[in-house]
Symmetry: C2
Subunit: 450 residues, 2 copies
C-alpha cells in the first residue's frame, strides 16, 4: 500500500539533498516521487536549483511533473530548457496540457517550440480554443469506431490505436461524416461476443457538448450526470475532442476558489504565500474601491452631522443598522451567486427569487428590528430611539434582500461574473440606506430624542 506522501517530509528530504549539493541525488529523488508531489516541490525551489534539476531529468519524467503544475507556474520552470528539449517534453504530455502550457508562453516562442514537436498535429488544433471553454480543456478526439465493425475487429483496433491512451472508458462511434452516432463502454465490449457488430452493442444516446461551452457549464454537466468523459462536437456535430473527469475535478476546484475569492474581494490568482507585491496587487485595488463606496456612505452621515451633534448616542447604534444590513445582504447574495454557479437558478428565476427573499428579509427585519429596538430602549431609556433603530433595521433588511438578488442577477445578465463585484454594490446599498434610514428617521423625530 502506498500512502499519499507527506509533502512536508518530502520537502525536508529534498532540502537535505540540496544542502549536501547532491544535485543528481535530488533529481533522482524528484523523479521517484509521484509527479503531483514532484511538481509541488519543484515550484517552491529557487530558479537556479530548478534549472539544475530539470536539465537532469528525462523528457518523459518532466512531462509528468509539468502536467501536474498550473500552466502559469510551469511556464516559469520550462524557461530553463532550450527549445528542442522543451519540444521533447511537450511531445510526452497530454495534448490538452501541452496546449495550455504553450498558450501561456510568448506567442513567438510557442510557435518556435511547436515547430520542433513531433506531436504538433495533436496540440496545434487545441490552441485555437479559449482556455476556459470545453475546447480549452478537451483533448483531441480519440480514434473512433464505425458501426459495421465487429467486436473482434474493435479489439484489434483498440490494441493498434490505443497503446498510449491514458484514460479510456468509452469508445465513440462515428458515421462517415465524422458525426457522433453512438458509444460503447469498454466493459460492454469485454462482455460482448466477438462476432457481434458495434451497432448491436453501442448505445445511441450520447450526451455531448459544443466546443465553445464555458468550462463551468461543462463541469456542471459532469456533476449532474456523473460522467467520466464527455465528447465535444463542433457546430456540425462532428466529434472534435473529449473532456475527461480529471480535468473537470481541477475546473471545479478552480471555479470554487475563484468564486470564494471574488466574494471576499480578492483576485482569484491570490495564493497564501504569494510575493508581497503580488498580494498587494490582488487586494489593495479592492480596498480602494471599497474606500470609495465607504466615502459615499460617509457623505450620508455628514449630511446628518447636526443631528449627531445633538444626539451623540446615535453614533453608537449607527454601525449596527448598516452592519446587519451588510450581513443579511451578504447572505442573500452568496446564496444567489452559488446557485447561479451550480446552475440551480438562472436569470429567469430572478423575479421569483426577489419575491422570496423579500419575504425572508421582511421577517428577519421584524425579528431583528424588535430585538435591537428593545435593547436600545432598555439601554438608553428612550422608547423613540428604540423605535427609530427598529424601523431603520427593518427597512435596511428589505434593502439587503432586494440588493442581494438584484445585483448578482443583473451582473449575470450583463455576462459579468456575479461573484466578482456583487459585494461592493450590495454593501454600498446597505451602508448608504442603513445610515440614511436611521439618521433620517432620527432627524424627523429629533425632538423626542434630545
Amino acid at each position: 500500500m502506498v500512502d499519499p506522501v507527506k509533502l512536508a517530509d518530502a520537502m525536508e528530504q529534498m532540502q537535505v539533498l540540496l544542502q549536501a549539493d547532491d544535485l543528481d541525488g535530488a533529481a533522482e529523488f524528484l523523479r521517484a516521487l509521484h509527479p503531483a508531489d514532484g511538481a509541488e516541490i519543484l515550484s517552491t525551489l529557487d530558479p537556479e536549483t530548478q534549472a539544475a534539476l530539470v536539465t537532469r531529468l528525462q523528457p518523459v519524467d518532466l512531462a509528468e511533473v509539468f502536467g501536474q503544475m498550473d500552466a502559469e507556474d510551469a511556464v516559469d520552470v520550462v524557461q530553463h530548457l532550450d527549445e528542442e528539449a522543451l519540444a521533447d517534453v511537450l511531445d510526452e504530455m497530454e495534448p490538452d496540457v501541452a496546449a495550455d502550457l504553450l498558450g501561456e508562453m510568448e506567442p513567438a516562442e510557442a510557435t518556435a517550440v511547436l515547430e520542433q514537436m513531433d506531436e504538433a498535429h495533436s496540440v496545434a488544433p487545441l490552441l485555437a480554443y479559449p482556455e476556459d471553454t470545453a475546447g480549452g480543456i478537451m483533448n483531441v478526439a480519440p480514434p473512433s469506431l464505425r458501426r459495421y465493425m465487429t467486436v473482434a475487429e474493435a479489439f484489434a483496433f483498440l490494441k493498434e490505436h490505443y497503446h498510449d491512451a491514458n484514460q479510456v472508458f468509452h469508445l465513440y462511434v462515428l458515421d462517415r461524416n465524422g458525426r457522433l452516432i453512438g458509444v460503447v463502454s469498454l466493459r460492454a465490449l469485454i462482455l460482448a461476443e466477438p462476432q457481434q457488430t458495434i451497432e448491436e452493442v453501442m448505445r445511441r444516446e450520447v450526451i455531448s457538448v459544443r466546443v465553445d461551452m464555458d468550462q463551468e457549464e461543462v463541469a456542471q454537466i459532469f456533476a449532474r450526470y456523473d460522467l467520466l468523459a464527455l465528447p465535444v462536437v463542433d457546430h456540425d456535430d462532428r466529434l472534435v475532442g473529449l473532456v475527461t473527469v480529471d480535468d473537470v475535478v481541477d475546473v471545479l476546484e478552480e471555479e470554487a476558489t475563484e468564486d470564494i475569492y471574488h466574494l471576499a474581494q480578492v483576485s482569484p490568482d491570490a495564493a497564501v504565500f504569494a510575493p508581497v507585491a503580488d498580494a498587494l496587487r490582488s487586494r489593495l485595488p479592492w480596498l480602494y474601491v471599497n474606500m470609495g463606496t465607504a466615502f459615499l456612505a460617509s457623505m450620508v452621515v455628514a449630511f446628518f452631522e447636526d443631528t449627531i451633534a445633538a444626539v451623540a448616542v446615535l453614533a453608537v447604534f449607527m454601525p449596527i443598522v448598516a452592519g446587519q444590513g451588510g450581513n443579511a445582504g451578504n447572505q442573500t447574495m452568496t446564496i444567489i451567486v452559488r446557485s447561479l454557479a451550480l446552475g440551480e437558478i438562472d436569470v429567469r428565476s430572478a423575479w421569483r427569487a426577489a419575491r422570496h427573499e423579500f419575504v425572508i428579509g421582511l421577517l428577519n427585519g421584524i425579528a431583528l428590528g424588535i430585538s435591537v429596538g428593545l435593547v436600545a430602549w432598555l439601554w438608553m431609556g428612550n422608547a423613540v430611539l428604540g423605535a427609530v433603530i427598529g424601523l431603520a433595521m427593518l427597512g435596511n433588511l428589505i434593502v439587503a434582500a432586494l440588493a442581494g438578488v438584484i445585483v448578482p442577477t443583473t451582473l449575470k445578465r450583463l455576462n459579468l461574473d456575479p461573484a466578482l463585484a456583487s459585494s461592493i454594490f450590495v454593501t454600498t446599498a446597505t451602508d448608504v440606506m442603513g445610515f440614511a434610514l436611521f439618521l433620517g428617521l432620527a432627524t424627523l423625530l429629533l425632538r423626542w430624542l434630545t
Copy 2:
C-alpha cells in the same frame, strides 16, 4: 447527439401533463428523462403528486432517480413507498447511495427496510461509517483478482462477476489475507497476452486511503493525483471498499458550497427556494450572533460618547476605519480558509502566514491610511483629524491581518471548521479595535479637533 435537457422546458411539459391529470403520462415522461433531470423535477412537486408518480414507477427507474437526489431530499420522497417497495428500490441502487439514504431514515424504519432487502449484505457494512468519511462515500470492495491468475482467467472472472458493476476502471489484486498488493487497469488487461499472469501485468504501487479519512481529504487526493477510483483499506490494510470519482465530484461541490456559505454565515443546507421557515433557520441565528458582536462594538462607541458629542464629524469617518478593517480581514481570512481546505497550508504554517500577512497588512495600512487621511484633511480642513484617521486605519489593518490568520488556524487546530465562525471573530476584532483606535486617538488629541 443528445443535448443536456433544458430543465425549465421539461418542467413546463410536466406541468402540462399534471394539469391535464394525466398521471400515467407524467410518470412515463419522468421515466424517459435522464435520472438527474427526473430527480430535480420530482423534488419540486408537492407530496401528493410525488406519491402518485413514485407508485407508478418501477423499482429500477426509482433507484436511478433517487440515486441522483440528496439523501435528505430522497427521504422525503421515499416515504410514499411501503417497506417492501422501498426495499426493492434500494436493491437496485449503488450500495453507497442506498446506505446514505438508509442513514437519513429513522433507525427503526431503516432496520425494517434493510431486513426486506436482498442486497442487505452489500449495504449493511457501509452503514457503520460516518457519512463524511472515506467509508461513508465508498462502495463495497469489488471482486478482486489473485496474482497467480492468468489474463485469460481474469477475463473469465470479469465476465462472471462484473455483469452489473457500473464503473470499472481497475481491478485490484489481493493476497491471501485480503491485503491490497496490486492493481491492473482494464486497458492493460486488454493489451496483455492471454497467458501472462496477473502478477506480470499488475502495478504494485497503489495509492489507497484508510476508511476513516475525512471526505474532504479524500477529494483532495483525487484532485491531486488525477484519480478515477481510490481503494479504501481498514487498519490491517485489507481492502474494504472503493471510492469512485463521481462521488468525489459531488463531495467537491458540497464542500465548496459549505465553505462559501459558512464564510457568508449561512448554514450550508440553505437552498435558494427553501421554504421561508427553513431559510430563517439557516440565517437568522447568524444575524443574532452578529448583533451580539455588533453591540460589543457599540459599547466601545458608547464609551467615547462625550468625544463624539464634542466632535460629531468623527461619526462620519468612524465606519470607514472599522469597515476597511473588516474588508481586509475578510480577504486574509478567506485566503487562509481556502488554502486550509485545499491542503495548501496546514496549521504548522500559521506562524509563517501570520508574519507574511503582517507585512501585507502594514503596507496596505500605510497606503490606505495616507489616502484616507489626506481625504479627511482636505474634506474637513483639519490635519490632525487626517492623522487620527490615518493612524487608526494603519493599526486596524494590522489587527485585520493578524486576526485573519489567527482565527481560522486556531479553529482548525481545535478541529472546528475554520470557515464556520471565522468571520464573526474577525469582524468583531476589526470593529472593536477600529472604533477603539479611532475614537481613542481622537480623545487623546481632542483639543486639536474642536
